[in-house]
Amino acid sequence: MASPMRSLAPEPQFATLEQQTETAQLGMWVFIATEVMFFGALIFTYYIYRLIYWEQFRLAAADTKILLGAINVAILLTSSLTMVLAVNAAKEGRQRALLVLLLVTAALGFCFLGVKGYEYVQDYNSSTVPSVNFLFKSGYHSPAELFWIFYFIATGFHAVHVTIGIGAILVMSWHARRGRFSPNYYSPLEVLGLYWSFVDTVWVFLFAAIYPLGRAIT
């Protein structure tokens, strides 16, 4: 069992700590590849329907809150920066900076969820939640509702990923506070950093797919 004063010996199945770290990283890259297939298929399907129901998706997307979506992109991009700087701090043995940067990253994650929650409330007030209070506005037909179904499924799944990431960052913060990480052992942080930046990347694609549509000034 790992203790706060962790020994620097690798687990029995690895020859060196370096090999253990590289294996952990590769494991996360495999997981990310599966996540790419998951979100990739979702976004691809969205684009197909967007091309088929061009006008209806344009109408529906105009009701999304682009400012809130863009603020959330900025928040997650900034959190990716703080996360990678936290990993660097661990690598360089700067314990205090590591803890502060991890907590800032978690705080930015909470900010993202807060803005997303506020946006969902706005969506509810605009009567755009399928099966709850969806209102067919002027010009809306059933594909417009399909757009909003995609919106909630995609952003909902993403929010779940962000929530899991925040939980993991808080756990790592706890371990960092107990001095578990050192320049010789920080692979859990490196792996978590990969996950967090990937979740950031997914939001970048979701933003590009959902929000800029239907606002062009002709």
């Binding site: 590289e22 890259w29 790419v36 691809f44 930046s197 970048v204 694609f205 062009a216 000034i217």
Partner: protein
């Protein structure tokens, strides 16, 4: 033991470029790009993703074996997209009117 500090500047520059691309993405929303709109938005997102993968996720550093996994994920995604597009362009009577 501490290691030599890694410079912060490349990460900050990457972040600034990402913010700039975000601004472009928002700006493009208000431009009448017609049919090319989704392609422009997707292109900007792809550029942002490339920066995140290369800089923040350190795809350019060791171990080089991770390129196999990252490339494998990308390959199968393109495989999925290819089959998906073939299905879409060859299926008749879809969507049903």
């Amino acid at each position: 033991m501490t290691k030599k500090p890694e410079p912060i500047l490349p990460y900050v520059i990457a972040w600034l470029v990402l913010m700039l691309l975000l601004g472009l993405s928002v700006l493009s929303a208000y431009l009448d790009l017609g049919f090319f709109h989704p392609f422009v938005n997707f292109g900007i997102a792809a550029m942002q993703a490339a920066i995140i993968f290369l800089v923040f996720m350190r795809l350019r550093g060791p171990p080089s074996l991770k390129w196999v996994f990252a490339g494998g994920g990308f390959f199968w995604l393109m495989f999925l997209y290819g089959l998906g597009v073939i299905d879409w362009v060859t299926r008749s009577g879809f969507p049903s009117q």
